[in-house]
């Protein structure tokens, strides 16, 4: 019994680690898409910030400096996206894809030129990474029944970005639904003309939403290279940006359902790592291919059965043109 409990806790522990970049990126996408700008470039922005963070951390030896530069890189890419599709009213999907492709090529190229390790950054250690934090009393309470392991295994012992992601969900929800800025973001995503009539600049609001997107994406990318991993490798995001986008749609562009969608994806991922080769009583060993397809099968089932229709922001994908 105690073993099974610990087993579940460790799966959930892995879920948190895997979900962190997804949650941050999905929230990033939420700000952008709620303001009416499709953000398919989450993948590229994460990859760009992962590279920038690892490069800076390996040069300065400071994880915080790395995080700062990673966030700056993601904001810069976000502004590029904004310049193309807010200012110049370009196609938002094309611009997003362009960012993905440019970063996928540019990051390893710069890495090769700077570090001469084939597009990777040197492995990071010590202060150049965010280490796991042991929360106060974690060791002291570890022996308590139920609550002890829950606290010491599950809640304590993550790096700081995991806690940032946990805090980001309520903060993002509060900004989006309880502040004037959030109201305006949602308004320009639903009905930009009404916002314009009220004398507020649609362009300015969308740019500001994209800055928030950049910050969150930057933290998500930095997590991959300087917190969970230890250095940048080519294509290290491995589709997490797209997965985050899927979670966002899955969660109907709302913070809490999006969080659960991310956790679900992460949970199936953590579970499949443990189910591989496991001998299940009565069934035997399940083939690896089936287990690896499990997250996708589950997603399709849930989408078809439980989630219902996801209604996107009304003005999404449309560049705003002031009527003359």
């Amino acid at each position: 019994m105690a073993d099974a409990f610990l087993y579940v806790l460790l799966i959930l522990d892995a879920t948190f680690r895997v979900a962190t970049p997804l949650v941050l990126a999905a929230l990033a996408g939420m700000f952008s898409e709620r303001s009416g700008v499709i953000d398919i470039g989450l993948e590229g922005k994460m990859l760009g910030s992962a590279f920038a963070a690892a490069a800076c951390a390996s040069v300065t030896g400071s994880a915080w400096a790395g995080l700062l530069v990673g966030v700056a890189a993601a904001i810069a890419l976000s502004m590029l996206h904004g310049f193309a599709c807010i200012t110049h009213r370009g196609n938002q999907v094309v611009s997003g894809m362009a960012i993905n492709i440019v970063v996928a090529g540019l990051a390893p190229t710069l890495g090769f030129a700077w570090f001469h390790q084939g597009g990777q950054t040197p492995p990071l250690s010590g202060d150049a990474r965010f280490a796991s934090l042991t929360l106060p009393f974690a060791d002291a309470t570890a022996d308590w029944p139920i609550i002890g392991p829950l606290y010491s295994e599950l809640i304590s012992g993550h790096n700081i970005i995991v806690y940032m992601a946990a805090a980001a969900v309520p903060i993002a929800a509060w900004i989006l639904f309880r502040t004037r800025f959030g109201l305006r973001i949602r308004a320009v995503g639903e009905n930009p003309h009404a916002v314009d009539t009220a004398g507020i600049s649609v362009v300015a609001i969308r740019y500001r939403a994209l800055i928030v997107t950049g910050i969150l994406c930057g933290i998500a990318g930095s997590y991959l290279s300087i917190a969970h991993g230890a250095g940048f490798a080519r294509d290290m995001t491995a589709g997490k940006g797209y997965l985050a986008l899927a979670a966002l749609v899955f969660g109907k562009w709302k913070p809490v359902p999006t969080l659960f969608a991310c956790l679900l994806f992460a949970f199936t991922d953590a579970l499949q790592a443990r189910l591989q080769g496991a001998d299940i009583p009565g069934i035997g060993v399940i083939p690896v291919q089936f287990i690896q397809a499990l997250p996708y099968i589950l997603t399709v089932l849930l989408l078809a059965g439980f989630v219902g229709r996801a209604i996107p922001p009304k003005a999404i994908g449309q560049p705003y043109v002031k009527e003359r």
Binding site: L10, G119, A233, R234, Q276, G277
Partner: protein
């Protein structure tokens, strides 16, 4: 002025022509997914090619495949450019080699890790199961929990071959050992996903494993890092990876891809290159386990003696390691 420029261009053209003529031997290599600097399989080939370049002074053409469709194009282009020998890295290139070798019957092809049966193709395969057997023994002997792990890259028969040898070696050293196995994925992207590799390793540590062996190309970097973070032991693959994290890298299963590549280039240059199949195992020195200054503290004398004894037994044929690919 214009005339001077033209003359200069002509001169440049002539010298270029001359240098191309002097180097009438052009070797070429096509790396596979994972990239030239995966610190593992492809990187070993790169070191082999560099060693050839240093010894002979002959430069080589190279291409890094990042998409499945590029393999054939890259090979055809190199053959067209007049490469005398083209070395293709990895099982996935077999289809491309077959096509290119038929189209350019005068060009020599060497493929590593796969067999292509054509008169102008040399196939070099390794007995990875023998090398994996040795590191499996080392893992079981070093494990305090009696549980060891294996993280594979893409789920293909070749990687299963590594896994099976490893399991047999671990069981040979300790019949009660428990071995966890994970594959990273079923697409070539699985060769380059360190984040996922790290997670898989952690999932094995959570279940009690304290030594993990990665045969996963660039994905392995994440596995070794996870081992270091958790204070567990890891085993490298293909190249000697002991230097990556001294203190937590127990050993590496070395596969002398570097020697194979260098040998292919050199023999093609000397005219001693022969088509056909070459199988390199423990007896030929094609595979082995790595002992150096980085892991000497981790490998005890007892461990060393037992593994070396098994090595001698495998070479003598007293121990038979199952070859997953022959078995199926």
């Amino acid at each position: 002025m214009k005339r001077i420029v033209l003359a200069a261009l002509a001169a440049a053209g002539m010298t270029m022509g001359a240098s191309a003529f002097a180097a009438d031997f052009t070797p070429a290599i096509v790396f596979d997914m994972g990239g030239k600097f995966d610190k593992s399989f492809n990187e070993a080939a790169y070191h082999g090619a560099e060693a050839f370049k240093k010894d002979s002074g002959v430069d080589y053409l190279e291409f890094e495949v990042t998409q499945a469709s590029q393999r054939e194009q890259a090979m055809m282009r190199m053959a067209k450019k007049g490469a005398n020998i083209i070395v293709a890295m990895g099982f996935a290139q077999a289809g491309a080699v077959e096509k290119a070798a038929k189209e350019y019957p005068d060009t020599k092809f060497t493929i590593i890790d796969m067999v292509v049966d054509l008169p102008n193709v040399q196939s070099i395969v390794f007995k990875e199961h023998e090398g994996s057997f040795l590191v499996g023994m080392a893992a079981a002997l070093a494990s305090k929990t009696g549980k060891v792990g294996f993280v594979g890259g893409m789920d293909i028969p070749l990687i299963r071959k590594f896994a099976q040898g490893y399991v047999e070696g671990a069981k040979y050293a300790n019949p009660d050992v428990e071995v966890f196995q994970n594959m990273t994925g079923t697409t070539p992207a699985a060769w380059n996903d360190p984040t996922k590799g790290g997670e898989l390793a952690r999932s094995q540590f959570d279940r009690g494993a304290d030594v993990v062996y990665a045969a996963a190309g660039g994905t392995g970097i994440g596995v070794y890092q996870a081992a270091k973070d958790a204070g567990k032991l890891a085993i490298g693959v293909d190249s000697n990876q002991n230097y990556l994290h001294p203190g937590t890298m127990l050993t590496s299963m070395i596969k002398r891809v570097d020697v194979a590549v260098e040998e292919a280039f050199t023999s093609a240059k000397n005219g001693t290159w022969k088509p056909g199949i070459q199988v390199l195992g423990l007896a030929e020195g094609g595979v082995g386990w790595a002992l150096d200054e980085y892991n000497e503290k981790l490998v005890t004398d007892d461990m060393k003696a037992k593994v070396e004894a098994a090595k001698a037994d495998i070479i003598a044929g007293k121990i038979k390691v199952t070859d997953y690919m022959m078995q199926n």
